[in-house]
Symmetry: C2
Subunit: 432 residues, 2 copies
C-alpha cells in the first residue's frame, strides 16, 4: 500500500525526512571483487574477458570474436520492424537537433591590460559507452549516450555490451549504427569498464566512459575515475508529479506507473492539493496494474517507495520538490509554467498536462540520462559538455607583463614560492 503524507498533519516533517533518507538500493559491497577484476584485465587483457564470458554462457564467444561486425549490424537491421526503425530515426534526429544547441563557443579576447585570455572547448578523443545486457538493454539509451558524444566531436566512440547467450538486442545495434558508434565489443561487467579504461589487445583505451550498469559496473566506473572521465553513477529512476484535481486521474496514474515499471527500486511520488483526487489516482493505479505486463515490478516499487503528499496549497509544492530534487518532475497544473519557474533542483521538468515524462524518454530531443537520488542538487543530465573539455589560453607581451608582473611577484613572495617570483622577475629585470 502506497504511503500517504499530509503537510498539515503532525509529524509531517519527520515523515518527509524519512522519505528523503529512504535507501532504495541494496549496497552490496563489490569493491574488492571489482578491484580484482580490474587488476586482472590490466595484467591479462582479452583473456580475462573471454574467461568471464565463458563462465556465464554456453556458446563460445571467442570463436565469434569480441568485435561486432558490419554483417552483424546488417543482420540486426534486417531483423527488426520497420516502424521501430523509423521511430528510432525520428528520435535520433530530434536528439541530434537539440544537443547541437549545447555546443559551447570557444572565445578569446584582449582585456584593458593588453592580456589575451581565451577558453577553447575541444572534444575528448575517444569515449566508451556501456550498454547493459538483458532487459535493461535499451536502444533509446544508446541514442541518448552516443548522440551527445558525436555532437561533441568524439572521433572514436566505443560501445561495450554483454551478450550472455551470444545474443545481442538487434535494436541496440541499429541504434548504435544510427548514432555513429565506431566500434562495438561483446563484453560486459567490470571487465568491460577495465578494458575501456586501460585497454586490451582488442580494445584500445578511451578517455571517458559513460552509460548505466549494475553494481559491478558502477563500482568499476568509480574505481577507474581519474584514469578516465566518467558520467554520474546512476541510481534507480524516479518521478515527482505535481498535479491539481483538474487532471484525469488515469493519466496521472499512468505516469506514476511508467516510472514504477522500470525497477522495483524506482520511486513515484504524487504531490496534490486535493484529497479526493489523490484517492482517485491511487484507485486508478490499482486498476491499471491489473493489465500491466510488468505489474509485479511496478507494484513492488509503488508499494514500497511510492508516496502521495497532500499539500494545503500547490504553492508548497516547489519547495517540497526541491528537497526531493527528483530526476523527473511533471507539473500538471493550471499554472504549470509559473510553478516550473520556482523549481531549483530537478533533472528535467515536464510542463503541463500534455507532457508525460515518457515523451522525454524517447523522442522529445532532450536527454533521458538524468541525475538520480537527489543528485539534481548538484548534477546535470548527460549532455555534449560531458564529452568536451576546456583549455584556457593566456598571452601576454612585455608591456602587459610589466603591468601585471609585480602583483604576481608580491603574491609569490607571500606564499613563499621564490622560483615563482623569479620566473616573473627575470623577465622584468627585477632582482630576486
Amino acid at each position: 500500500m502506497v504511503q500517504m503524507l499530509d503537510t498539515r498533519e503532525d509529524g509531517f516533517a519527520a515523515r518527509f525526512e524519512e522519505l528523503l533518507g529512504m535507501k532504495r538500493e541494496s549496497s552490496t559491497d563489490v569493491n574488492d571483487a571489482v578491484a580484482k577484476i580490474i587488476a586482472d584485465v590490466r595484467a591479462r587483457g582479452d583473456e580475462v574477458s573471454s574467461i568471464s564470458r565463458r563462465n556465464s554462457i554456453s556458446w563460445d564467444l571467442r570463436e565469434a570474436g569480441l568485435a561486432v561486425t558490419e554483417a552483424d549490424i546488417a543482420g540486426a537491421l534486417a531483423s527488426v520492424e520497420e516502424d521501430t526503425v523509423e521511430a528510432l530515426k525520428l528520435a535520433h534526429e530530434r536528439i541530434l537537433a537539440h544537443h547541437s544547441r549545447q555546443l559551447p563557443a570557444s572565445e578569446s579576447y584582449i582585456d584593458a591590460t593588453g592580456v589575451e585570455l581565451g577558453q577553447r572547448w575541444s572534444a575528448v578523443s575517444s569515449a566508451g559507452l556501456y550498454v547493459p545486457g538483458g532487459t535493461a538493454s535499451y536502444p533509446s539509451s544508446v541514442l541518448m549516450n552516443a548522440v551527445p558524444a558525436k555532437v561533441a566531436g568524439v572521433e572514436r566512440l566505443v560501445m561495450v555490451v554483454p551478450s550472455p547467450r551470444g545474443e545481442l538486442n538487434p535494436l541496440v545495434l541499429v541504434a548504435a549504427a544510427l548514432a555513429g558508434v565506431d566500434e562495438i565489443y561483446r563484453v560486459g561487467g567490470a571487465q568491460a569498464i577495465a578494458a575501456l579504461a586501460f585497454g586490451t589487445e582488442t580494445i584500445r583505451p578511451v578517455s571517458t566512459i559513460v552509460g548505466p550498469g549494475n553494481a559491478y559496473v558502477a563500482a568499476a566506473k568509480r574505481q577507474v575515475f581519474g584514469q578516465v572521465g566518467i558520467d554520474m553513477v546512476a541510481g534507480p529512476s524516479e518521478v515527482v508529479v505535481i498535479a491539481d484535481k483538474e487532471n484525469d486521474p488515469a493519466w496521472i496514474a499512468s505516469d506514476l506507473l511508467a516510472q514504477a515499471e522500470h525497477d522495483a527500486a524506482a520511486q513515484s511520488i504524487l504531490i496534490t492539493d486535493d484529497a479526493g483526487f489523490a484517492e482517485d489516482v491511487v484507485a486508478a493505479v490499482e486498476t491499471q496494474l491489473k493489465t500491466l505486463p510488468r505489474a509485479q515490478t511496478a507494484r513492488a516499487s509503488w508499494d514500497e517507495f511510492g508516496a502521495v503528499i497532500l499539500v494545503g496549497s500547490l504553492a508548497e509544492a516547489p519547495a517540497l520538490s526541491d528537497r526531493l530534487a527528483p530526476e523527473h518532475l511533471e507539473i500538471a497544473t493550471e499554472n504549470a509554467d509559473a510553478l516550473a519557474e520556482e523549481i531549483r533542483h530537478a533533472g528535467a521538468i515536464f510542463v503541463g498536462r500534455y507532457t508525460p515524462e515518457v515523451i522525454g524518454d524517447y523522442v522529445a530531443g532532450t536527454n533521458h540520462v538524468l541525475p538520480t537520488a537527489r543528485s539534481a542538487r548538484f548534477a546535470s543530465g548527460l549532455g555534449v559538455l560531458d564529452f568536451m573539455k576546456r583549455t584556457s589560453l593566456l598571452k601576454l607581451d612585455a608591456e602587459s607583463l610589466k603591468k601585471l608582473g609585480p602583483a604576481a611577484m608580491t603574491l609569490a613572495r607571500a606564499e613563499g614560492l621564490d622560483a615563482h617570483r623569479r620566473s616573473v622577475g627575470i623577465r622584468l629585470n627585477l632582482p630576486d
Copy 2:
C-alpha cells in the same frame, strides 16, 4: 640528474611510454581509515572533529569554537602587509572579470513540431571549499576556488581549513573575505569533508565540495561523491615547456623550477629542437637551484621526474605534448600561436615568451585549478560550471503530443515498457 630523451634515438618510444606511465604519487591506501572517519562523523558530528583536532594539537579548539569570526578576519586583515592585500585585490578583480564570462545562458525555444524545449542553468545552493593547512595553505587558491562559486551564484559558500596549532594563515582569511566566503570552520582532513557532505551540529551540509588536500582528503572526496558533487582529485603539479633556442635559457629554467618547487612529485618537462639550448637550460637550472630557498624540493622533483625531450623539429612537439596532456603548457617559440592551435589536450596554454605560467597562478584571471596526471585528456580546469547544473524543460500541447506520441509508443513497445506506452496512449485516446 634530469633525464634526456631524443625522438630520433632508438628506443625513444619505449622511454616516452615510461615517462607517460611514471607514477608520481605514492598510493597509500587510506580508504578504510577514511571510511571509518566518515562513518564516525555521521554518527557523532562535531565531537569527532574536536577529538581528531585534539589528537594533533595542544591548544583546545573547542574553547574557541569551530567557526572563524568577523573579529578573526579583522585581525587577519590588520596583520598582513598592505601591498599583499592590494595584489590579492587585483587578482580577485581579474579572476572575477574572467569567470563572469563563463556564465552559461539558459535557453528555451519552440521547434517546428510545436514542442517547447529548454535548458535552465542554476547554481548549487551551497558549496564547500577545502583549504589545506601548513605550507600548502595558499590565499591564491582560495580565490581560485571561491570566485567561480560566487560568480555561479552559490548562496552559501563554506570554507574549511585545519589550524594545527590553533593558527590560520591570515592571508587565507583575507582572501576568503575578499571572495565572499560565507562561513569558515577550523577543521581539516577527512572529517572536514565528511562534515561538509553530511553535516554536523555546527556545519550544515553542502551540495558540492571543491579544493585540494592530502591523500585522506582526496579519498574522502571520492567516497562522498554521489552524496555531493566534487571537483577533480588533483595530483602533483606539472608543466611542459616547448621552447626554441631564441629564448634566454635562464627564463626557461626559472619556469621549470617554478613548477618543481611546488612538490617533490611535481614534474617539469622541456621540449626543444636545439641540443645546445637544452644543455644551457639544464645548466641554468643548476645555477638557479643554488639560490633557491625551496631548492631541496625543486631538485628532488627535477632529478626524479624532470625531463628534456629533444625533437628533430618543433612540429613534433604538439603531438608529444598531447600525449602528456599537461596541466600547464608553455609555448615559447617564434610561431607560438600556430603551435598553440595544434594542441588538443592541456589544462592551460601559456603562449609566447612573455607569458610565464606563474602569471596564471596569480593575476591573469584564468583559473589555476587545472587537470593533472594526464586528465586534461577529458577534464577541464575549475570554472563557473562546476558550481552549476542544468535542468531540461519540455512542454508539449495536445497537437504536438499527437505528432510525437506515436513514435514514443512504438519505442516503448519495442523496449517492453507497456506503462510507458500507456502514459502516452491514454492522452491520445489510443488503446493499449
